[in-house]
Point group: none
DNA sequence: CATGAATGAGTATTCATTCAT
DNA sequence: CATGAATGAATACTCATTCAT
């Protein structure tokens, strides 16, 4: 976290960060960091702004200098995770030469990411906004990620690397398996991303018939 | 549901309910019905008891003559749907002679049920607040349903009808595909349960490799 | 209790109690009896009409056929105890030939009554009305009892049986000692009305100077 | 109380409170002051937090910035009075050289205190709901005060200044007479603490026999 | 900008009382 | 008269947000 802040500050090379700017970045990061913990613990609905600010050495009013309300912090947090993860996934797809590699890379990346960031897993699982949207399946980041994957899937179909089926359904299925196997993996005593990825890949490549 | 209504109607013929009993049943149903709508619209966390009874011509206090609190109505609603659906699914599995039939029957039953009960779909998609639990994946009814399915899957494996793989993972995958294809189907203009079921079945039987 | 009801019914000799009249007396007594217990347990403020009726096999609505509200039952209960006790006290005073006897008789009667009726003691201690009145010291029954005692005290003074002091103060003091020694006695493991009465009598007759 | 006010005023001179600190003290006092009035009027049970805050120009939520609930304000109020009074009483006993002086000092202090603070008298007379406890006789402050007095009484007995009797009973009697004579005094047109104290003292020293 | 007290709308729940049956 | 469900006013308490310092 210190690293992040540092690097953000460093990027203003020309006009070196004044004390104030530094504080601004620090405070914002402090709020995000506290929010990540609290959302993971109490869930979105159960979390209050005061819960977040309490885990900070800031005052309640200060929160509103950085975010409009609870939803915005939550969004920022999810955007952060989403972008990070989507970048990793896209990279994995680009390096794939076969459809199987594409699938395998993506699952391994996905399961490994959360196995290494259980904090973010908990956050992802705590989702829900006033509108009843399930961020797990419907959050803007997830939608974006699935849309990107669907494009690559369609491309693979066009290239004949995979039999032509309903691309939307296939994408949905890939996502659904990802979510459910992730849950299965995370509630086991020791997470085994490789096993989960292998299972999912085999399923998509050849099914499970005997 | 049609059956229920019918049997209620029948009971008026044989043993006419007193006006009071009648009223009691009517009110209970009114609350449940209103709750179904509101939960679907606002989600579990976003729903207040007042929201529910506002959609009723009953007084606030009356709510508490029927349910202890918001959670209890939600539970009642989900139990109702869950039991109904699980019964249908179990029946479908029992009638299956091959693993493919088992999978196919279940998916068709599942997708058809929600296609015919969009109201219940919306409810199922609304979720829990406080504890961050996602009813879609973790509600007691869903858990029970998946547990039942896992038993049948293990049996199929024991009988050699399907290759032996990690039963928990397979069950999770079956569930994940169900949820994600359901979402995909429901947000299309016209739901096509047969297509979704066929897609899912083929996926599990032979994968999608070209 | 059965005796009471019986005797009330018996008093209508000419027009022997119909089943309904009998029920009316029975129900009223059932409510009073339940109320006595509940008030003693929960205090006046903590008691609800439903608490009372719950200890009865009557329905909520029935309560209002017998009493206007909680306060009225409470009043009825206190009136009952008050009249009973006042009668005993008056009798004791009438039999006294000296002032000492008067004091002694009254204290012994008073302490003995509550020692034998701890239920009523608890009730008496639970007092309070919406107006903040302390029934212990200010309830109408207590006021009446003290007024009666004051008359006898004034008479004793007129007869020269006791030195002339402010009769109101003396009456208040007699009452205050009664209440405080009663509390002291009731919270001991075994109540000793004789000891308490002896102490109080000696105090009023000759003080406690060495 | 005069002293307190004075010292608060003094503190403004030396270390002028910030406007915020000042306001905080003002609000706290406003709540306590309003509570004193309302409790006196409606009794503890009859008082609601809204009743208190309504007599203030503060908002409902503000109450909870200062006190956890109704009970806490009540406690604060009683603690305040109790400590003040107990200090005065203890001082009076320490200055006494004979048992008569001890009794006389205490009664005079007690009656004078309430004669000068009728507001506090009313508060003291208001009482507890839920548990049926009578603050007049059983509040923690009163209990503490009586316990302190009992110790001094036992000491006086040990020193032979007063005949040995049951110390608990004697303490209870002293308390009972204090409460009842206080009530008697306060409901007269003009309170006469000296007369009440003289009466009580004489009673305890030599009784009232002719 | 930071602070943290003040605000007051909002929510769950209770309970005395009424009234149709 | 008995019943017990319906009523809705009332209460305690929370929390997002504002704003004077």
């Amino acid at each position: 976290m210190t690293l992040d802040t540092q690097s953000i500050a460093d990027s203003f090379v020309d006009k070196p960060a004044t004390k104030r700017e530094n504080n601004r970045a620090t405070n914002q990061e402090a709020i995000l960091s506290a929010a990540r913990l609290v959302f993971a613990e109490l869930g979105y609905g159960g979390t209050t702004v005061r819960d977040i600010i309490r885990r900070t050495d800031l005052a309640t009013g200060t929160f509103y200098n950085y975010f409009d309300n609870k939803e915005q912090v939550f969004l920022a947090l999810n955007t952060q995770i989403g972008e990070e993860l989507r970048a990793l996934l896209a990279q994995g797809r680009q390096q794939a030469e076969t459809f199987e590699q594409l699938i395998a890379n993506n699952y391994l990346t996905y399961f490994t990411y959360y196995a290494n960031n259980p904090q973010n897993y908990a956050l992802t699982r705590s989702n829900r906004g006033r509108d009843g949207a399930n961020v797990n399946l419907e959050g803007p980041q997830v939608k974006a990620g699935l849309a990107e994957m669907q494009i690559d899937i369609e491309q693979a179909m066009a290239l004949g690397r995979v039999s032509k089926v309903d691309a939307a359904m296939l994408t949905a299925a890939v996502g659904g398996v990802a979510f459910s196997l992730l849950d299965d993996m995370m509630q086991r005593d020791t997470a085994n991303p490789e096993a989960a990825a292998a299972f999912a890949t085999r399923l998509f490549m050849s099914g499970i018939s005997s």
